[in-house]
Symmetry: C2
Subunit: 237 residues, 2 copies
């Protein structure tokens, strides 16, 4: 069990570049909390104080995030191994930004912030990894602010889903009323519905009661890339 845990942790960006001896000696010095949760549990709640590094060791879960107006919910699948919201341990708002709900039985390991600062921070490589993780997220989020949503209704639906898809793999789900999606994309309910049905016919999405599911969002990314390329050729000629 412990051998597996070390190997799993070493796969994470936070511990990249560390050897097995390093991680063993770090974990010897810190208090580690293990937990196993059954499927369907809310393990962390939006607004809950973030005081620990929480690692998902086994299993998979869904993050659930809502917009400021509570018009929609967006879900992203997260598979082990993963470190949950390392950016919520610092800054003005040290609380979780999303809910996390287990999809399968999940094993977690958590380490108090105190040990991150007193023990883990003694390793320059961990300090650097942490700065890299946070800076990557800034660069990723910032790119989204400067990416325009424009074009056909279908284009804008794709852009809207991609805008909120931060985890690079896994299923995405958007729970929203058609009327609200129409309002957000400055379109009409009928046009939105037509575009969604066409997207379902192309197997990009599946439509459920009040929910759009994207089993594999590579199709959406390809669509956006192709459109970008088209536009740049058009603007050159």
């Amino acid at each position: 069990m412990t051998i597996t845990m070390y190997d799993t942790l070493l796969q994470l960006p936070l511990f990249q570049g560390l050897g097995k001896n390093d991680i063993t000696s770090i974990l010897d010095k810190v208090k580690i909390h293990f937990s196993r949760r059954k499927a369907g549990d809310i393990v962390l709640r939006k607004g809950q104080a973030c005081r620990d590094l929480v690692f998902l060791l086994n299993g998979s879960l869904m993050s659930e995030t809502s917009d400021k107006d509570n018009m929609y919910l967006f879900y992203e699948e997260i598979d082990a191994p993963s470190l949950l919201e390392p950016y919520s341990l610092f800054g003005w708002r040290t609380e979780y930004a999303s809910n996390y709900i287990t999809s399968t039985v999940c094993d977690f390991v958590s380490i108090e912030k105190f040990y991150l600062l007193s023990e883990l921070s003694n390793y320059e490589i961990i300090r650097l990894n942490y700065l890299n993780i946070l800076s990557n997220r800034i660069q990723n989020l910032s790119d989204r602010l400067w990416t325009n949503m424009a074009g056909s209704v279908e284009d804008r639906i794709v852009d809207f889903i991609l805008l909120h898809s931060i985890i690079p793999t896994g299923e995405k789900r958007l729970k929203i009323k058609m009327d609200d999606l129409a309002k957000l994309l400055s379109s009409t309910r009928i046009r939105i519905s037509r575009a969604l049905n066409e997207m379902q016919d192309k197997h990009w999405i599946t439509l459920h009661r009040g929910e759009i599911r994207v089993p594999d969002f590579v199709h959406l990314k390809e669509h956006r890339e192709a459109r970008r390329l088209e536009q740049s050729i058009k603007s050159e000629t």
Copy 2:
């Protein structure tokens, strides 16, 4: 001169909580590079490698950022003291995300990344401040992703400008063709033009050739807050 510099640096979030003796002893150990630039100089360019902590000590400058499609340019005023793009020193893309152009004579101090890691990082408070600065930015950018742009044309223009306004004070400028703004906001050139003129009449913005200037964006923020409040009252009744 040097006394002033220490006092100025101590006002920055990165050095918050340090004493004057600390900063003196830190700066004794690191190589500092001073420079003075005249007004109108491009001091840092988008895409240029970011290898130093660059501090603006005196003067003011404008950041210039373009969207991915090069449809528009957005400008934000930055006043001294300020640390430029601390998030571009780490992560996948260690290059500046914006251009920086001096508006007045400006004094800069820069410290190589090497010294940040070898000397500044020895102070736990600086390490913590750095993590806080990066985490704050993530929380700030992330909030924008979950803030909807919807409502009247005026509402959407306000949202669009606020979406790109990251520095909490100072003048903002948006250089864009009316046709492109109409495209981005799913509206028409005529409606956009009418809304902008009304906003100018209210002294929220001033209109120039191909450019919208926002001398004080508190008006835009108040408008958005009032609208939010209105919507939440409406949805409760």
